[in-house]
Each structure stands twice: as C-alpha cells, then as structure tokens.
Amino acid sequence: MTVLTGRLSVLRFSLHWPSVRGRARADTGPLILSALVVALVSLLAGAVPGLMRDTADAAVRDAVRQAGPSADVTVQARWEPDDFTSDGSPGRMRMSHLAADLADLRGRSLEQLSPDLRAALRPPVASVITPTLRFTDGSVLRTFRMAYLDGGDSPKVEWIDGSAPPATVDGEADVPYNGPPWRVRVGLSESAAASSGVRPGALLQVRDERGATKNVQVSGIFRPVDRNDPAWRLAPWLLDPAADADGAGTTRFGGLLTAESLPDARLAFKPDELRRIVTFSPDPSVITWETAHGIAATAITLKATSATSSSLDTAPTWNTQLDAVLRDVTEQVSAARVQASVLLFAVIAGAVLILALAASLLGRRRSAALALARQRGAALPVLGAELLLESGLVTLVAAALGCAGAYLVTGGVAVWWVAPVVLAAAAAGPAYGIIAAASATRDRRVPANRSARRWLRHTAALRRAAAEIAVLLAATAAVVSLFQRGPAPGLPALAPTLAAVAASLLLLRLLPLVTGLVLHRLLRSRRPLAVFGAAQAAASAGRALPVLALVTSAVLAVFALTLGATVQQGLIDGARETVGADARIDITDEASGTTAEVAARIAAQPGVTSVSTAQVIDGARIIADEALVPSRLIIRSGGVSDPSVPALVRSSSGQLRPGMSLELRRDDEPPVRLTASGVAPVVSGAEEIVIVDAAALAAAGVESAPNTIWVNGPGTESAVTGAGALLRSEVLRDRRAAPLVNGLLWLSWASAALLVLLGLAGFALAAAAGAPQRWQTLSRLRTLGLTPRDARRVATGELVPWALATAVGGIMAGAALTALFSALELRLLTGQEADPAVVWPWLGLAVVAALFVAAVPVVVRFEAVARRRRQLAEVLRVGGQ
C-alpha cells in the first residue's frame, strides 16, 4: 500500500498539469467526438445483450402460449375392459369407479414427472370427452359433446336449476349389448340452456355420425364458480356454445358429466370411443430461455420411455409437442442472439476503428507540443501517463453515461461487450501520443546507405503483408465456421465484421493503384486543378487508418441495412407462405361437406378477387421407391382431368423426385398410382409435398372433399369474418410484433444508422488529420496564382477518392457480404420455409452513398471558412495552415 501511494505521489509530482489541461482544451473537438462514440456504443453494446436475454425469455413464453393445446403434456391410458357381465351373458359391465380410476391416473402421472418438468407445468386436469354428436332437430347445424373434467377439486359449479347429473343406476350393473341406448344425464351451462331453450328433465335429440340415436337427458343447469379456472380450457364449449368449432356455420353445445354420470356416458358409446386423458398445460410464466433446453430434453425422455399409443394394455402413454415447440423457439432464439451479436460486433469494430482514427488525429496535432515536452525533459512514460489520464477520464465519463443509460433500459449492463470499446478508447490516445512524441524526437532521416534503406522498406512491407494475411486468415476461418456451424456464438458471429475488415484492406491496396493511375492520366491532361487534386489524393490514398475506418463502417452499415430490409421483406413473404393467400380457412373433417358452400358464400362478397379450395391431407401415405414417405397431399379442386394423375412434388429429404412413379395408400381401398410430373411450389409447414388435381384423382376413382379455402382480394377481411379464417395481415402483424423479430429489426436499423454516423465522423476526422498538409499545399499553390475558389476545388479533388471509395466500395463489399445471409438462417426469424432472398434497400443505399459524397463539399466548405480570415502571408508565416 505504501509502495503504491509512494509511486502515485512520484507520478503526481512529475505530471505536468497545465499541459494536461492545455492539451485537452486545445483539442476539445476530437475528444468530445471520441466521448460521444464511447457513450453511444456503450449504450448499445451494454443494453442489447440484456435486451436479447429478456427478449429470449419473452419469445420462449410467447411460443409456448401460441402453441396452445399442442404444447400440453398429455397422458392417455386405455380403460379397463368392460366387455363382460356378472353372469357371462353377452354385454358390458357398468363400472361405478371410473371417476376414482381417473383421479388415480392423474395422481400417478403427477408422480411420474421429474421435478424440473413439474415446475414448468400447471396442475394436471383429467378429462373424458365424448365424440361429437349432432342435433337432429332444427335447420342450423348444431353439435353436441359431453365432457367430464377433474382438476382435483375443480372446476366448481353451482347448480341453479335442477340438480347435478346423478347416476342412471346405482353401483355396478350388467348391460346387454342389444338393449336400448343407455341413458346419460348431463348438466347444461346457463348460456347453453338459454340459447337452446332447454329445461331440466328435457331429452336431447342427438345422434352420432353413424346415425345411432343417443339417450341424453338434462338434469340441471349450472353456473361456473370461476370461469377462469384452467380446467375449463380443455372444454371451453361447456361454458358457452362455440361457433365454428365443428366447421363453418356450426354451433357446438356441451354437456357436463359428473363422477356419477361418467360410467353411464361410457356405456352410451362403444368401448373405446371415450378417451381418458390427463393434461398438464405448460405455465409460460415459469419457462425461461435457460430452462427451455432442460424441459425439452425431459419431455423427450418421458415420451421415449412411455408405452406406445398402440399398445393394448392400460399403461399410460405420454404425449406432447412441447419439446418441438421449445426446440423450434430455442433454435430461433439462439439464431437471433447470434444475429444480434453479428450486428454488435460490427458496431464495435466500427467504433474501435473510429476511436483509433480520432487518437491518431490527436497524436498528429500534438506531435510538435509533445516533442517539445520531451526536449524539455519529460520522459515518455510520464507523457504516456498524462495522456492516459486524459483519455481514461474522457472514456470513463462517457462509458459511465452509456452504461447508466443501458442500466436504465435493461436493469443491467453487458460489461464484456462494452469493454473492447472502453479499452480501445482509453489506450489509443496514449499509444498514438507516445508514438508521435517518440518519432518526433527520433532522428527521422532515412539512412544514407541505399541497401539499409531498401531493407527498411522491405521490413515495413513484410510487416504490413503479415498483418493483412493474418486478418485474411481470420476472416476466412470465421466465414468457414459460419457456414459449417451456422449461426453459433463466437467465431461465426465475427465473420461479417472480419470479412468487412478484409474487404477494406483489399480496397486499401487498390485505392493507391487507382489514384496513381488517375494521376498518371491527368498529368497528360490540360486541367491543372484535376492534376493537383489527384496528386494530393494519391498521396493520402495510402493512409491506412482512414481508409480502413471509413470503408469498414460503410461496408458494415450496408450489411446491417440490407439485413434489416431482407428480414422485413422476409416477414411479408413468410406470412404469405404460411397462409398461402390473403386468408385461409381450415375446415374440420366433420364439416368438410360445407366447404363448397362456404367458399361460394365468400366468393360472392365484394372485394374478393379469388377463392380456391383444396383438400389438404397431412401425413398421407405416399410410397416412393418402396419406402413410405409421409407427405402433405394437396388435392386441388378445378382443373383439367388427366387419367395418369400427375403430381407436383417437393421433398426436403430428396425421396420424392419429378419423374418418379408414386403410390398413394388408402384404408380399405386399392392404392392409387401417381406420376411425379413436376416440382411443387414451396408450401409452409411441410417437408414432403405432393400436389394432385382433384379431377384427375376423381378420374382414378378417388373422391376428394376439399377442406381448405384460400381467399384473395382487398375485401378478404370482411368477407371471411366469422369463418375462423387465418388472415395473412394478422399473421404478419403478430410476427412483426414478436419481441425477437422486433428487437432484431430495431437493432439492424440502429446499427446501420450508428455505423453511418461513425463513418461520417471518420470522414471528418480523416479530413481533419490531413487538413494542415492540404491547406499548406493549397497556400503554396495560391502563391503560384491559384484562386481561392480553385483551391477549394483542389481540396474537393483530394477528398473525393475517399468518399467514392467509401460509398462505392462500401456498397459493393457490403453487397458481397450478404452472401453470408444464407448461413445466418434468417428464415428462423421470418417464418419462411427457405432463407429469404436478399432485398436491396435501394433508397437506404442511395442515402448512404449520398451522405458520404455530400460530406466532401461540406468538409471543404468548413475548412475554407475556418481559414478565410487569415491572410495568405500569415498562413505561410506559421508554416502552414
């Protein structure tokens, strides 16, 4: 401790405070610019990782919520067989303990869950739901289902009229096969009773799909104690009649069973028509991005170890799509996080280069003063400490502001992302200052010895080539790893940034060649201004840092801008792919007979330009090369008939190829031969696709029943209201509003804007660094008779190559970088089947190019105005500016 304070006091004694203050005051411009860069980039880099983590959790929850019942974890178990009687006569046994069995299954299932999965799931609800019945009275299509729900001691109901459904007979009883339909007693909800006008005691006129009548009596009218009880989620139609649940234009009524009437309900149906299911709904609020992987893994093990659904014993079968839902969303989230870090790396790289440029400008401006200080006896370490004090102070204040902002936004700061910028900002100033001081006091004369001179030149060239090769190798490695590993954190995420730096290095090599060539041509021309401008440009074209900083920021800005535009268009295309039209109506099997009628009704609405229908069958059994390829079969209605049943195919596994002969397997009917005649369009949500024409299929003896309607036209939305349609505009709105997509789009626009600003700042800094030399030369040219206006033109001529290199090189290299898009798997974000095609933001690119080109006259005007009041004599006297 004493050693440390001792050292500090030594330092304090030798630091020369007035020069520290004086230097800072003389160079407020570059210092403030650096501080601004540090503050802005710390804000972004400090906040985004936290935002991405929050967004990741939100996305996981969103996905679970959106998945709805398909994310439920369910347990199915067959009932104990009841096809026996106490006296051995043909018949079934009424089993009075069914509800207790179910409660037991529920309890056992809960015990089987591992703790992590149990924590992510809500308490189980056991349910028994009957097949759909139809009311035989009335012209409107009304359907009826009965359900028994058991979530422990929920859902609770209050009987407001009549009584809870009692047992039809008490205890066990033999039921002969040939007896009349067994009576079931149910309760109706208040709203169902009101809308159907049914009173307790009424018999419901219902039949099953084979036309067999059922004996269902209403015993009472109930009112739920808590309408929001999660148990109701499994059969919401028990509470209120549900429109369109069984197809467009249908209304489903529900009848509530009790533990007493459940055994009677079983007897009213065939032995295996009633299924008992225990449902665990995931609780989105407790699932996070971090726990998602574990939960998915547990769900997979659970499914793998459970009995298969076809087994005949009563062992429970576990089922869930939760693992798939979580896998999809975590895949999407990790891709998005990498995509975000790609953008952050880009911004940080741009910032580091600009900070280095600002520091080199400071070093240049101060080299005379620093050399003087050294001659007065100040040691290099002391000068370094003075400069470190200045840069450290500026950096810390700026970074603190940025981090405070990030903290306010996200409640945390991603320190590791802020660190590179802070380090670069703090270290670059002292480093360039010391280099300037050291080289100003060193004997700068080139060695007289010719071979010594050549050796110096060679080592410098070698060093530069080595650095370039290192960057090139790193960029290649990063790009290769990006293509091999996809959007993974680490090296792959650095690929675009490293590639941009490599492209800038290439341009840095090219620029002197081009300016040299231009100068060579102009020397033969008769335009003196162009010659002087080109000569100046040729001299400054080789300045590495300005070219690197400018071009890299421009390349990455173009990359970010194009990324944003591509994702934005991809979302639009993805929504179209998902829906297939402006709206799509999926009709359930029960109501597929109504498809044509509904389609005709919609087609008659104003503003509907096209309506098409088809039968879509997922998991159709297609046989190709004697292997089963479960495919999505699309039977298009309308079109020419063709006896060979041509089919369009698309296959992600490659098993379905045009030219193949295929077979469509059917239950209880001979298979149909198909000829794969062409390639099907991309269809969202299916990997193997077969499209056939309905008429051709009909000619081959297969009748189809369309179950899907696609609607297009400006009037689509109003035309399909109430038909349970999936609207493209809604899909698009939902996806755009999804936190992940929204966040990434925002980040790409913000990065693009920040990188353009960094590039413009870099341009100003680069121009400022060259300004003394430029205007000294211009003053000298003016003593030869150059007019002030022509002097400005020559200055413009000097700066234009940088601006053009930045604008043109930036856009071209940025465009080349979009080849990396395919490895970033943007489709995960846009909801498309294939990665989106690159979309060029022409307007944005034009604005970027225009900004860099327009910066030239602005900078020249500014420099000229700053020097306007000085007489040429004065300018020449002070050696220069």
Binding site: A539, T787, P788, G879
Partner: protein, 217 residues
C-alpha cells in the same frame, strides 16, 4: 517596376511598417536588409500581394497591387510576380519537374511547350538529373534551386525572395545567390531580395536598409 509609397502595416500593438517608400527600377536587383523583426518579410508580403497594408500604395508594373481583389491578386501572381521563400514552399506530393511546371499548368501552357521549358529551367539551375525526385528526396540547396526554377517558370516581371539562403549553409547559399544573380540577368526579371548576407548585398544593384519598419538607407 515597383513603386512603394507610404506603406503602413500594424499587427495590433506592433507597428511593423511605418511609412515605407522606395522604387525598384526594372531589371535591377534590390537587396532588402535589416535586423530581425525590422519588417522585411512584412514589406515583401505587402509588395507581393500576400498581405494588405493598412495605409499606402504599392504599384507593380503599373498595376496597383493594393487595389486588387482576390482574383486580381491571383492573376498578378500567375502573370507578373513570383516568390522564393526561406522555407522553399515546394509542393511535397509533386516531383521537382512537376513543381516547376505547376505555374505553367495554371497558365494552361500546352504540354509540349511546358515540358520543354521545365527541362530548360531545371538545366538552368543545374538539376536536370533530379527532375523526377520529390522535394523530400532533395537536399535543401537543391530544393531552393527548384523553387527558383519554379519562380522563373512563368516568366514573371518581379521576383520576390525572402531570405532565400536563410536555411542553407554558407557555401550552398553563395551558389544559390550566384544563380539568382545570373538568372536576373538572363531572364530579364526585376528582383527584390531580403537577406542578412553581406555577399548578397555585394551582388545587388542597390541595397535598401530597413529598421523598425522604416527605410533608413
């Protein structure tokens, strides 16, 4: 050739020129001498139109320099007056030949003529071998010779040189001065040269002494 009448120049409190008047006859070489800070550079700048006097007039070849605007001054420098500076004032990014050719480019002389004249001038100052070298690759004396060649390129009427030998060693300085004297003869220009060097004074047709901003002869 040059008529200076009652020129005053003040820099804030400093009264650098206090009523300077004298003439420089055409074709002559006038040496301007005086202690450091006496106002030599200030006077030369005013004469050449690089600076403006607070009072008084300067005429060069019949044109009143003090009444010209920026464009007029640019034309004056292009056509009639050229300078040689103590610090040479060459353009670092151009070769020696291009430096000499720069005024000719500004005058839009055809390339063939220009190249011929540049070669001639470089030979005149003894640097025909060094035409392609840049100023940074030349010695101080060589740079000043290039500057003299450049000053002569556009065949000016008046050559203004401010301590042209100030940064050179005695030997080199003397040769540069001899060169200056020779070209004044051969190129028929009028020269106004400030110097501390007695040798230069000896070479001049006339010596004007200046002290404290006044001609003291």
């Amino acid at each position: 050739m040059v008529r200076i009448r009652g020129v005053h120049r003040r820099f804030g409190q400093v009264h650098a020129l206090r009523g300077v008047s004298f003439d420089v006859p055409a074709g002559s070489m006038v040496a301007l001498v005086g202690r450091s800070g006496s106002g030599k550079t200030t006077l030369l700048n005013v004469v050449g139109g690089l600076d403006r006097p607070d009072e008084g007039t300067v005429e060069v070849d019949g044109a009143e320099v003090t009444g010209l605007d920026e464009d007029g001054l640019s034309r004056l420098r292009r056509e009639k007056v050229s300078y040689v500076f103590q610090t040479f004032g060459l353009i670092p990014v151009l070769s020696a030949a291009e430096n000499v050719g720069a005024p000719l480019r500004l005058a839009r002389m055809p390339a063939a003529d220009r190249e011929k004249r540049v070669a001639l001038l470089l030979d005149l100052v003894g640097l025909g071998e060094h035409a392609r070298q840049r100023p940074g690759e030349l010695s101080g004396g060589q740079q000043q010779r290039v500057a003299i060649a450049r000053a002569l390129a556009s065949s000016p009427r008046l050559l203004i040189a401010d301590e042209p030998t100030g940064q050179l060693d005695a030997e080199t300085g003397r040769s540069v001065m001899a060169l200056l004297r020779a070209v004044v003869e051969s190129e028929q220009v009028t020269a106004l040269v400030s110097t501390h060097d007695p040798v230069m004074m000896a070479l001049a047709d006339r010596v004007v002494r200046i002290s404290d901003g006044q001609v003291s002869e």
